[in-house]
């Protein structure tokens, strides 16, 4: 059995069994059963840590569509391992938390099916080597996230949030797919490892930069980077365990993972550096700036997630510079940015997961998460408070929590970056530490808001639905475990660093010697710039936090209607309105208009093609001679055909049509087609009778009061259709390519025993046509009969009445 494949497939299999189990298990919460999956997978993955730490990688393949080079290949290195452990580890804690959070009255089987689908998809995403398989799992995470956000589907806001996130992430995913296909076109392989190995020869390819940009769009939409971050705050309508799991620890890291995975492919390019680093920095600032003004704690955490993801992106941007230099002793310093990014990725998952769970507890216990209503919960909920303190202080970057370490490393990397002299960083480099510092101040402010606004201050019992008290102990286990990890990582960061982060960085920089990579994380690193920056953050943050109510007015400088949300909504609405207008303008429901499109298309395309290819060719030499009777007949027909248009009564029109039909019969006689002449006379008679009979039932022929312009257009179209018809027919008639095959049918007496060639063709050589023609007649007969006989539904009368 292939272990990695099993790890991916097991959640899907279990998900398939959940509905049956839920029916059987009436007493036990189904979540306990689900809990076994992430827990078991976590143990399984963790058992590979020693081998991964030794630099081993695991590669397994199951053939899926080998003829198209699409195989289900799993590839586990340090990077996949980190994400895998986060998915299963946080997953197990979230499932445990949800057991206490969701009441048994909720539709639990749906919840856990979606959650397991998501887990499997996410594991597949991080473990896939084949980029098309990766794309499949990528979209599966979008879909399962959509289902989870709209879990309470009877709420309008949930549905809107789900729709928005699906639209944004799937558009990004689609862009990414196009980028992947471009990569395949360049390199001829879908395997990430092989692409990394081959890519150096393709950096000048015309598709290289488009592929990079498209793949980055995919990563940015998934990881809620500016300006695609708008879906994340709206996704907070999901149940809190979902927010904790998907929208802080796992799914939003998928974009980060993608950037990390493709850094060895595109890193070292100036565009990559600027897009990843620049967009990341912008997101970092924008997210933290907007988080401060939120009054809903989950929205605040959503913006803070956006901001932290931007911070991780920035570090990935900086780290990619190492690939520009290639391996030198100096360039190793840039790889440390990526090391820091991965470290912060883990840290963020731990403290943000804990914070979401804590907010969920507060919401669950007092019935609101609006900071204007909360306050004074510290004495009522001491354990919850402690955990939120740990999470918030870690997020703010204070010791002794892991956020402090990664924030220091972040400052180190932006400082390194500002000293770069490539990618025109000489002029812009200084901006990065400044933005990073300002963003950190805002981060500090909103972290303090979570702790102090929610737990201190006056206790407003009147505004709460329920008085606050500690939740059941089971609900506290998961956030407590995460809180412990937050503290634990501060004291023992190198355990993580050496075992997981170092191999992951080694995977990103395959050309660098592994011993040079990685770094020793130390909580105390002397009085250097980074430490002074942190001290500055804390003092400026404290000052601003205490004066918050005086300067909060600046948020009103950005009117509500200028947000990206409004723009998004506006574009969607306009798309709908405009497409409605366009469709309504040509789908009129009037037969004449559709005929106009068809005829115009016909005459323009066919006529145009004739002119364009110069195929028109005309000669009269092969023509049969014309006698005077034939002239007369033809002229009579033309006159009859044109007079139909001007007929005042319908009787005239029918008679003129009869003239046409009988004249054709006479032509058939002249053209030596006796059977045709016979049939034509018979059919024309019956048709005329039919017309006469049906006119008895139809209203009198009325003058068409068509507007002059429409009439003119109609005439123009009819003339052009007739002209194109004549030109094409003449060209075809004049340019015969080969002789007729009818000579064969002249053996009809030998072959079929008949002397009438036309009849032997109909009855013997090509009898199949005749059979179906009879069927057509039969169907028409049945159709006419049933039209006549069928009664209308509501008191109608049939034709015979």
């Amino acid at each position: 059995m292939l272990t990695m494949h099993a790890a991916i497939i097991i959640p899907f299999i279990v998900a398939a069994f959940i509905p049956f189990l839920a029916k059987r298990l009436k007493t036990l919460h189904i979540g306990w059963f689900v809990l076994l999956v992430p827990f078991g997978l976590f143990i399984l993955l963790a058992s590979y840590i020693p081998e991964i730490a030794d630099g081993e990688i695991f590669l397994q393949t199951i053939h899926w569509i080998p003829s198209y080079d699409i195989n289900f290949t799993t590839y586990m290195d340090g990077l996949s391992m980190i994400l895998g452990l986060l998915i299963t580890g946080v997953g197990a804690l979230v499932v445990l938390y949800s057991i206490y959070y969701l009441s048994p009255e909720e539709s639990l089987k749906h919840f856990y099916v979606f959650l397991l689908l998501f887990m499997g998809a996410m594991l597949g995403l991080v473990l896939s080597d084949n980029i098309l398989v990766l794309y499949v799992f990528w979209e599966l995470t979008s879909i399962s996230s959509f289902l989870l956000i709209a879990f309470w589907y009877h709420r309008k806001r949930s549905r809107e949030g789900a729709e928005k996130s699906l639209l944004i992430t799937v558009s990004g995913g689609f862009a990414m797919l196009v980028g992947f296909i471009m990569l395949y076109v360049m390199t001829g392989t879908f395997s990430v490892r092989e692409i990394i190995r081959e890519v150096s020869q393709y950096t000048d390819h015309t598709l290289f930069l488009p592929a990079m940009v498209l793949i980055l769009i995919g990563a940015f939409t998934k990881s809620a980077q500016f300006p695609f971050h708008i879906w994340l705050p709206d996704a907070m309508e999901a149940p809190t365990p979902v927010s904790a799991y998907l929208h802080s620890a796992t799914m939003v890291k998928a974009g980060i993972y993608l950037v990390a995975r493709f850094t060895p492919v595109f890193g070292g390019e100036a565009l990559w550096f600027w897009l990843v680093g620049g967009v990341g920095c912008l997101t970092l600032f924008w997210g933290s700036f907007n988080a401060v003004k939120q009054t809903d704690l989950k929205a605040l955490l959503a913006y803070s997630t956006v901001s932290q993801l931007g911070m991780i992106m920035t570090m990935f941007g900086i780290g990619s510079a190492a690939l520009y230099y290639g391996y030198t002793t100096e360039s190793v310093i840039y790889t440390q940015a990526i090391f820091a990014a991965l470290f912060h990725l883990v840290n963020h998952s731990t403290f943000k997961g804990a914070l979401f769970m804590v907010i969920g507890i507060v919401d669950h216990e007092v019935g609101t998460r609006d900071i204007r209503k909360l306050g004074g919960l510290v004495t009522l909920m001491p354990i919850t408070f402690t955990i939120s303190l740990i999470g918030s202080f870690s997020m703010a970057g204070l010791p002794p929590f892991n956020g402090f370490l990664s924030k220091e490393m972040f400052f180190t990397s932006v400082l390194t970056m500002s000293e770069m002299n490539i990618f025109s960083m000489e002029t812009w480099g200084v901006l990065f530490p400044v933005i990073a510092w300002v963003a950190s101040v805002f981060t500090f402010i909103y972290s303090m808001i979570i702790v102090f606004k929610a737990f201190f201050g006056p206790y407003q019992l009147g505004k709460l639905e329920r008085p606050g008290h500690e939740p059941p102990i089971g609900m506290l286990i998961a956030p407590a475990v995460l809180g412990l990890i937050v503290v634990g990582l501060f004291f023992f960061p190198n355990m993580l660093g050496n075992n997981l982060l170092k191999p992951a960085v080694a995977g990103i920089f395959p050309t660098f010697p592994e011993d040079e990579l990685g770094m020793k994380i130390t909580p105390w690193h002397g009085f250097n710039t980074e430490l002074f920056m942190t001290i500055g953050v804390v003092s400026a943050g404290l000052l601003l936090y205490l004066t918050l109510r005086y300067w909060k007015g600046i948020y009103r400088l950005f009117p509500e209607k200028w947000t990206f949300n409004v723009l998004f909504r506006y574009v969607l609405d306009q798309l709908e309105i405009k497409s409605r207008v366009v469709t309504d303008s040509y789908m009129t429901g009037f037969l004449r208009d559709y005929f106009v499109y068809i005829f115009l298309f016909f005459s323009i395309l066919i006529g145009g093609a004739l002119i364009y290819t110069g195929a028109f060719d005309f000669e009269v030499s092969g023509n049969a001679p014309i006698s005077v009777y034939e002239w007369i007949l033809a002229v009579v027909m033309m006159v009859a055909g044109i007079s139909i248009l001007f007929a005042k009564s319908r009787l005239t029109a029918i008679l003129l049509n009869g003239v046409l039909g009988y004249s054709i019969a006479v032509f058939f006689v002249l053209f030596r087609a006796p059977d045709l002449a016979l049939t034509q006379v018979g059919i024309e008679t019956v048709t005329t009778v039919l017309f006469l009979v049906s006119y008895y039932f139809l209203p009198e022929w009325q003058k068409e009061n068509t507007p002059k312009r429409t009439k003119g257009l109609n005439i123009l179209i009819s003339l052009s259709v007739g002209a194109v018809f004549i030109i094409v027919a003449l060209a075809a008639q004049s340019g015969k390519l080969f002789e007729t095959i009818s000579g064969y049918y002249e053996n009809s007496y030998q072959l079929a025993g008949g002397k009438n060639i036309v009849n032997t063709i109909l009855g013997d050589f090509r009898a199949f046509d005749t059979m179906l023609e009879v069927v057509v007649l039969l169907i028409a007969g049945i159709g006419v009969y049933s039209f006549v006989k069928s009664k209308s539904k509501k008191g109608g009368h049939n034709l015979e009445d």
Binding site: G589, F590, R592, F595, V596, F599, N623, A624, W631, M637, M638, G641, R650, A653, N657, L660, G661, I664, F667, F671, R672, A673, L676, T679, I683, L690, F691, S694, F697, L698, T706, N714, I715, S718, V721, G722, A723, F725, I726, A729, Q733, T740, I741, S742, Y745, E746, K755, N756, I757, V758, I761, D769, E773, V776, L777, G783, V784, F787, S792, G796
Partner: protein
């Protein structure tokens, strides 16, 4: 002769097109009938006109006119007759049910 017949067919096509573009259902049906006349004329003239005797064996003649287009037209005449019949009955039925034969008024409903 072929050229004359083709031009004749073209005139009929123009007339038929004009009828198809009109508002009354009867005119549209008449247009289809005329269009099928034009098609038959086109098919027979494509095979070459009056190039030999009537395609019936027995007499000692050197060549016959092309029998294949004739067989095709024979099939086509019958089918167009069937279609015309169906359309006429359909028009009657629609008129009885809806009280108009004006296509502009027969536009149905706007979605809802």
């Amino acid at each position: 002769m072929e050229t004359l017949i083709i031009v004749l067919a073209g005139v009929l096509v123009s007339a038929a097109t004009y009828l198809l573009l009109s508002r009354s259902v009867i005119r549209v049906i008449l247009g289809t009938a005329i269009l099928s006349h034009a098609a038959h004329l086109l098919i027979i003239s494509m095979g070459g006109l009056k190039t030999g005797a009537v395609p019936i064996l027995g007499k000692e003649v050197s060549s016959f006119t092309d029998a294949l287009p004739q067989a095709l037209i024979l099939t086509s005449i019958v089918i167009s007759f069937a279609v015309t019949a169906i359309m006429l009955v359909l028009a009657i039925r629609a008129y009885q049910k809806l009280g108009t034969d004006n296509l502009l008024k027969l536009r149905g409903f706007n979605d809802d």
